[in-house]
Amino acid sequence: MLALASALTTTAGGYLLVLAIILPVIGILLSLVIGGRHAERIALALMPVGFGIALAIAIEIWRTGKPLVYILGGWTPPLGIALRADGFSAVMLVTAALVVPAAGYFARANFQTPQGQFEARAPLAFWTLLQALWAALNIVFLGGDLFNLYVALELLTFAAVPLVCLDGRPETLIAALRYLLFALFGSVFYLLGVALLYGTYGTLDIVLLSARVRAEPAVYVAAGLMTAGLLAKTALFPLHLWLPPAHANAPAPASAVLSALVVKGSFFLIVRLWFDVLPALTIEAATSILATLGAAAILFGSILALRQERLKLLIAYSTVAQIGYLFLMFPLATGGHPWSADAWNGGVLQVLSHAFAKAAMFLAAGLVAESLGHDRISDLRGLGRAMPMTVFAFGLGGLSLMGLPPSGGFAAKWLLVKASVESGQWLWAVVMLAGGLLAGGYVYRVLAPALANGSTPLETRKSTSRSREAIALALAFVAVLLGLAPAGFFTFLQIGRSAAMAGLQ
């Protein structure tokens, strides 16, 4: 947490935060006006630039050891709006800046405008929606004002929902409408909480609120409403019903971004809310409820994943389970105890590893579906021979989901289990280990037939492009590399958190 004055003045390099947001917005506007096949070119051309900006923000924060701040319009909060980037924001920005371009380059083969046509529906929609998704995510990671974040959440929903039903099949339309209804419920409850907070404290700036919030009835109600709304968007059990059909039936690059990043956006806001706005309200009951729902998600999601017949549905239910791990962070990282820093680091690392691993797995599943014409798990015998790189990518991603070394997933679970044991909350450690076993189960379900020697060689409809397999593999490698993160990485994650909160004293 920043000293109030420094949180309300623009820092050097703060303009980078503005650039990170307006770059994809410019892309959307240009894509719509110039149209046609240029939409794809504009999107792909801006992606390296976006990555450069995200990296520059991270480097600047690392160099100064302090968060970046930008005051918009010259009006300081509470009247105006601020953008802020701390360690957590920076790693999320870089993750988005890696996963979105990966999905984009992967999707070139799926969403090309046909020759002879100036503009086609699916390509134009895909490239504009993808850039909108990126813009919305960046605002979520950088926004310092709660109402601004509401607008960002709506932008995120409007970008994600049409991606789900982009190919127009009836099951995708049903999934998209369900997703939209859940998401709208989430946004409106979030907005209601925002109204109550403004009514009580006269500001919506996160840093100012953190200084003013006290334990009052209005704040309890606001916290409950906002959390309920954000949980619906993050698909935590029991509000997870919309996620599996939506993520499984979307086009593969869209599924990758949806599971890896979109659900993490609302989770990021829950963390901001509980750790930055409301730390004065340390209610053990609330954090325990969140963790219990998370534990239920892990068990429920993993068991359902074991029973799926389709590969993409298995991966989608795995997302439901992995989201549960994220909520185990809450009872462990609050309260400024000696183990809180470990729990925080573990939780963030879990967010990042899952993002890369899940994106890799969905892209791999997409390649499998394109090659074989189906994604039935029972008919995957011999896949390892036909598409070795793809299966390897899937396997590496699975490694991280199971929490086996060396992988980011292992490092994350190690930290969380350590914190759970040190704090005496053994239950969470048991749940995590059980979840790891179950994850092993459903990954094995896919890899075992894939790696077995089929009696007849598998027929592939078309040969897979090496570059697309390489993209999936690269994402899986990043998930593994995260396991080797040095201590400096964890110091970076703590930049911007108050020392008391982090328990670093």
Partner: protein, 315 residues
């Protein structure tokens, strides 16, 4: 009890009654008509809360444009209503849902009653800086100056909604025009109404946008009225719905956010940062931005109401 208090209580009771009707009505069409009436009553409540800008927006967009959208949808969905009742939740589940909703409403009512009076407010700060913006309407100042970033993002959200709606068309209709295919009847009553109303509506819309700098009004309200005029003229077939690939349509849709963004970026060079206005030039720049916003809103709202393209593009 004074007359005004009696009016307030009566208004509140009426609003709740119509809202209840909207939820329990058997037919969707009846519920939607109830919703339009509810919206107009709500505008009166906003006037009683001394929020005239909001009342205008609620009447124009919340009740008016939304009403058109929902009525045409209800008409098209009439045949799907009977089968849907098979999926009704059982009585125990409905009781559970009702209890949860009652608890939420009660908690909110308690919070409302416990709210301090006078409450926390940013009105003094808004008033203090109003002179710098050169505006007389503090709400316009909040929208286009103090919290300009919110408004700019909201314009992008509108564009996204249009893209989302358009993406729902079948592939073969991409590039066509939206809206139902109807035969033009230039002597008909609708055409007469449109020819009478449109010029008047355009003048009113532009006036409300212009006057919004100092009085209640602004880009959203003015734009909504212009949008309504365009919709009436299209429904009467005096003007053809445009092809979604038409360059002029695309340019009009993005004009608002583009101008907003461009002036915001210029702020880096000629003022002290993104979305800052150079001193002395604030009001003309704000009006300039609002003019293009009005244009974009007037184009966007009808596109959202008319839906995805419904016929193949004309060769």
């Amino acid at each position: 009890m004074t007359v005004l208090q009696a009016l307030d209580i009566g208004l509140a009771a009426l609003v709740l009654a119509v809202a209840g009707w909207t939820i329990v009505a058997r037919e969707a069409f009846a519920a939607v008509v109830g919703y339009v009436a509810y919206g107009l009553l709500l505008s009166l409540v906003w006037v009683r809360l001394f929020a005239v800008d909001v009342a205008l927006t609620e009447a124009a967009i919340g009740s008016g444009v939304t009403g058109v959208l929902l009525i045409s949808a209800a008409a098209r969905l009439r045949k799907t209503e009977a089968p849907a009742t098979d999926e009704r939740l059982g009585a125990p589940l409905r009781l559970l849902a009702g209890t949860v909703c009652a608890v939420v409403a009660a908690a909110l009512a308690a919070v409302v009653l416990l709210m301090p009076d006078p409450g926390s407010t940013l009105a003094p700060e808004a008033a203090q800086h109003l002179a710098e913006t050169g505006l007389g309407n503090p709400i316009t100042a909040v929208l286009i100056s103090y919290r300009a970033f919110d408004t700019m993002l909201e314009k992008v959200v509108l564009i996204l909604a249009v893209i989302g709606v358009w993406s729902l068309a079948p592939d073969r209709y991409w590039g066509g025009a939206p809206g139902p295919q109807r035969v033009a009847r230039h002597e008909g009553a609708l055409a007469f109404l449109a020819q009478l109303l449109a010029p008047l509506g355009i003048v009113v819309g532009v006036h409300i946008f212009w006057v919004g700098a100092d009085e209640p009004g602004g880009a959203f309200q003015g734009g909504a009225i212009l949008a309504a005029m365009w919709m009436i003229v299209m429904m009467a077939r005096l003007v053809e719905a445009p092809s979604i690939s038409a360059l002029w349509l695309r340019l009009t849709l993005v004009a608002g956010p583009v101008v907003f963004l461009a002036i915001g970026v210029l702020g880096f060079a000629v003022a002290s940062g993104f979305l800052t206005y150079p001193t002395g030039f604030a009001k003309p720049l704000i009006l300039f931005i609002e003019a293009f916003m009005t244009l974009s809103i007037a184009a966007t709202l009808p596109m959202l109401v008319m839906g995805p393209p419904s016929r193949p593009p004309r060769p």
